[in-house]
Assembly symmetry: C2
Amino acid sequence: MARSADPTLAERRRRQILDAAMACFGRRGFHRTSMQEICGEAALSAGALYRYFPSKSDIIAAIAGEDRRDSEPLFAAIANGDSMIEGVCALAAHMVAKCTAKAPLFAEVIAETLRDRELSERFATHEAETRARLVAAIAAAWRRAPAPDMTPERAARLVMLMLDGLALRVMREGVHGAVDAGPLLEDFREALLRLFATAAPGPRKRALAGVES
Amino acid sequence: MARSADPTLAERRRRQILDAAMACFGRRGFHRTSMQEICGEAALSAGALYRYFPSKSDIIAAIAGEDRRDSEPLFAAIANGDSMIEGVCALAAHMVAKCTAKAPLFAEVIAETLRDRELSERFATHEAETRARLVAAIAAAWRRAPAPDMTPERAARLVMLMLDGLALRVMREGVHGAVDAGPLLEDFREALLRLFATAAPGPRKRALAGVES
DNA sequence: ACCTGAACACCGTTCAAGT
DNA sequence: ACCTGAACACCGTTCAAGT
């Protein structure tokens, strides 16, 4: 199994192809852009392209895996910040910004992730990791501040449920026009505040009596 | 513009084609099933099929529009039932059941809805109608029972955000295997209970003191 | 080692021709 | 009026041939 003579060439070619593909997918969608178009945009022949990506699907997979790294600080902020809720809001804002910036491309990725078996499995793995990071971050946050009557596991599941909803909504509004993120994030924060309110007046929790009024 | 000689034939042919397409899409996905396959399944030639559906996209659009009718009673139940929360849970359960029963098909519909401009617009119209019905139903429910400190509009947006998240999750788990709806719906109900808790111990609401313990 | 581009086996859609 | 199916203009992918 011969390794590449110039290992940086392979990496540069992959970048070149990925950039070309992202430009094309963003313009025309995954299924409407042909390999020929990507070849044209990347100034490479079909044969050369297939040397670096064995199929069109693999290109989308590579794009989907691209920006996993830059979310790490967001999780650290949830774990160590003053407010778990604000930390999660920042995570949501980050995601919404990414989605609005390149909604058509992300819509393609989501759609393809729902369609392709292999992509779907890769995505499930990634999602499980993300959930684990979120559980750890929420648990850490709640060790440092008053926590509601809920497990970090359920909290993480609820947060991810809402993040999924948010993503889908931003996609749908963003694929064919501008999206106003403000109200969406405001709704999201309001939901978090109610979901994770501490000291709820439940029957078997210590209750804070409403003193004033 | 000649009308059909036998108006029931057109309807029967559309059903025949739609049923064939749903079977094929469920088996192999939207983009992987060819028009030839649908023709084979429907026992019709390509030309005949194109007489009833001008494109492959129109077939998916027709499938997406198919089961809008049967959700009407669910909204009525929210408006008139004892508990708005239980009504919304029933709506969620209905949606989850539909999605789990034919996850691959619904995943195709969602994916295509994100990809295709015309489909996306039809979907947006449908969604706006749904939201209006939900707002009306929640407002009606809250006129008959204690309501939380929230507008029906925001409540409807939050419910739809969570329903979207739920749908996406069920799709992702269901496209390639069985999905256990129980825990998902339990999370969903728990979220609703917290989101729409009445008499929250906020500073300017009458507060229920925790008497026992 | 890396690349080219013609060729292959398809695809969605159309349309002249049948009944 | 309704249908057929060959034909058209593509598509993703491969592979012999070049450098």
